[in-house]
Amino acid sequence: MRRALSIVRAQLRASMALGLQYRLEFLVEGGLAVLWMAVTLIPLLVVFGTRQAVEGWTFPEMLLVLGWFVALKGVLEGAVSPSLTAVIEHVRKGTLDFVLLKPADAQLLVSVAKLEPWRIVDLLGAGLIFAYAFSRLGRAPTAGEVLAAGAMLLGALLVLYSIAILVVSIAFFAVRVDNLLYLFQSVFDVARWPSTIFRGFLAVLFTYVLPLALMTTYPALALLGRLRAGTALGALAGAIAFAAFARVLWSLSIRRYTSASS
C-alpha cells in the first residue's frame, strides 16, 4: 500500500512538472476554463430571472449542484480523461508493453500518467460558486455537512473514475474508442442539473444505470443537510461495488491484450 502511494506521488509530480512546462498554455487554457464556467452559468441566470424555484430547487441551491459539476468536470477532463486517452493510444500503437513490464500495478500506473494542471482553475471556480451560494443562503454549512459532502464526493469520484476505466477496457476489444471517452465527457453534462429535473426514462437512466445526476446532487444535498444517512450509505456502497466491477473488467480485458508491436 505504501509502495502504491509513493508511486502515485512520483507519477503525479512528474506529470505536474510536464504540464507546468507550458506556461502560456496554462494562461490560455485557464482563461478558457473561466469562459466555459460563465457559459455554464448563463442558462441558470436566465431561468431564475423568470422563476423563484425549479422542482423545489432555489437559485443558490442549484448553484451548489453546479459547483460540484464544475469541480467534477475539472477532475474528469484534467486528470482522468488525459491519462486514459494515453492508454488508448498505447493500445493502438502496441506500446502498452512498456507499461505492463513495469513492476507495479498497471491500472495504477496508467491512471495517473497525465495531468492538465490548468484545470485547477475549475476547482477554484467551484470554490467561488460555493462561497457565493452560501452567502445567498445566508448561512455556512456545519462541519458534519461538509464531512458528509466530502464522503459523497469521494463516492462520486470513484464512480467517475470507474466509468472511465470501463470505457478504456473497451479499447482492448474495439480499437478506436478515443471518441467513446469524448462521448462520456459529453454525456456527463447531464450532471449539471439536480437529478429531480429529469422525468420518466431519463430519471431511471441517470439515477440507476449511469448514476451521473447523483454524483452532483448528493454532495449538494449533503451540504444543505438534506441527505438522509441511509441514502448516503447506500450511495457509497454502490460506488464501491461499481469500482470493484470496473477493476474486474479491467483485469479481464488486459488479459486479452496481445501486443501489436513485437
Binding site: L24, E25, V28, E29, G31, L32, L35, W36, A38, V39, I42, P43, V46, V47, G49, T50, R51, V54, E55, A174, R176, N179, L180, Y182, L183, Q185, S186, V187, D189, V190, R192, W193, I197, F198, R199, L202
Partner: protein, 266 residues
C-alpha cells in the same frame, strides 16, 4: 487551379468522402451522439415550464425549439478546424498543397459528404419532433422552402469560420484554443443553450446583430415560423452577406498565411 477543374473534381471528392464516412460508421455515430446539449437544456426548461409557460414557450414549445436546434446542429456540423490545425502542425498540409486542388475545397467536400449520413442520424429527431410538437412548427410552405438555403448558409458559415480560425494556425500556435473560445461565445449567442428571445433586451439586441445567430438560431426560427415572409427574406440576405464576408476573409488569411508556411514534413 481553376474553379472549373475543382467543379469537375467535386462529385468524385464527394463520393470518396461519403465512402470514408460510411467506412467509419460506428465512430461517426459516436460523434453524432455526443451532440446532446440541446436535450440537456430541454430537460431543464421542460422542468421550468411545468409550472406554466416561460416568455411564450410552453413545454411543447421548448421541445420544438430544442429538437429543431439539435436537428440544425446535426445537419450543419463540420470538423475542419481540428483537421486543419493538426495538419498544419504536423506538416501534412504540404501533401495537400501538392495536389492541383485548393485544400479548403477538398476539406469542404469531405465535410459536405458526411451530410447524408448525418441526415440518417437526424431521422429519429425529426420523427420525435413531428410526433411531440407538430403544432408548434410554422405553417407557411414558403418559409419551409427558405429553410434549404438557410441551412446551406448555416453550414457554409460554420465551415468557413472553422476554416478561417484553422488557417490562423499558420500564424499562431493556439488556433485550436481560439476556436474553443469561439465555441463558448457561440453557444450562448447562437441560441444553442437558451432561445435568444428569452435573454434580456440588451443582450438580445447584441445577439441579433452578430453572426452567431445565423449559424443556428435563424434556421430554427424559420422552422418555428417566428417571422413573416418579408423579414425572413431580409434575414436570409443578411445570412448570405455574412457567408460572403467569411469567404473573403478566409481567402485573404489563407493566402497571406501560405506565404509564411514552410514545412517540409508529412
Amino acid at each position: 487551379m481553376s474553379l472549373r477543374a475543382a467543379a469537375r473534381a467535386y462529385p468524385a471528392l464527394l463520393r470518396a468522402g461519403f465512402a470514408g464516412a460510411v467506412a467509419y460508421r460506428a465512430e461517426f455515430l459516436i460523434w453524432m451522439f455526443s451532440t446532446n446539449m440541446p436535450l440537456i437544456m430541454l430537460a431543464l426548461w421542460a422542468a421550468v415550464a411545468r409550472s406554466g409557460p416561460v416568455g411564450g414557450y410552453t413545454q411543447r414549445g421548448f421541445a420544438a425549439y430544442y429538437l429543431s436546434t439539435l436537428l440544425v446542429r446535426l445537419l450543419t456540423g463540420s470538423w475542419v478546424v481540428w483537421e486543419l490545425t493538426m495538419e498544419i502542425r504536423q506538416g501534412v498540409l504540404a501533401l495537400r498543397l501538392l495536389r492541383p486542388l485548393h485544400p479548403l475545397i477538398a476539406y469542404s467536400a469531405e465535410n459536405l459528404a458526411a451530410v447524408p449520413l448525418r441526415g440518417i442520424v437526424a431521422i429519429p429527431v425529426v420523427s420525435i419532433l413531428l410526433w411531440t410538437a407538430r403544432g408548434q412548427l410554422g405553417h407557411d410552405p414558403l418559409l419551409w422552402l427558405m429553410l434549404l438555403p438557410a441551412l446551406l448558409g448555416a453550414w457554409l458559415l460554420t465551415f468557413l469560420v472553422m476554416a478561417l480560425i484553422g488557417t490562423l494556425a499558420l500564424y499562431v500556435e493556439s488556433a485550436a484554443s481560439l476556436f474553443e473560445a469561439w465555441l463558448g461565445v457561440s453557444a450562448v449567442l447562437s441560441g444553442y443553450l437558451v432561445p435568444l428571445d428569452l435573454f434580456p433586451q440588451a443582450v438580445q439586441r447584441i445577439a441579433l446583430a452578430l453572426p452567431f445567430r445565423f449559424l443556428l438560431s435563424f434556421p430554427v426560427e424559420l422552422m418555428l415560423g417566428k417571422h413573416g415572409r418579408g423579414e425572413s427574406f431580409a434575414l436570409l440576405g443578411a445570412q448570405w452577406l455574412y457567408v460572403a464576408f467569411a469567404l473573403l476573409a478566409t481567402n485573404l488569411v489563407w493566402r497571406a498565411g501560405l506565404r509564411r508556411y514552410s514545412a517540409y514534413g508529412g
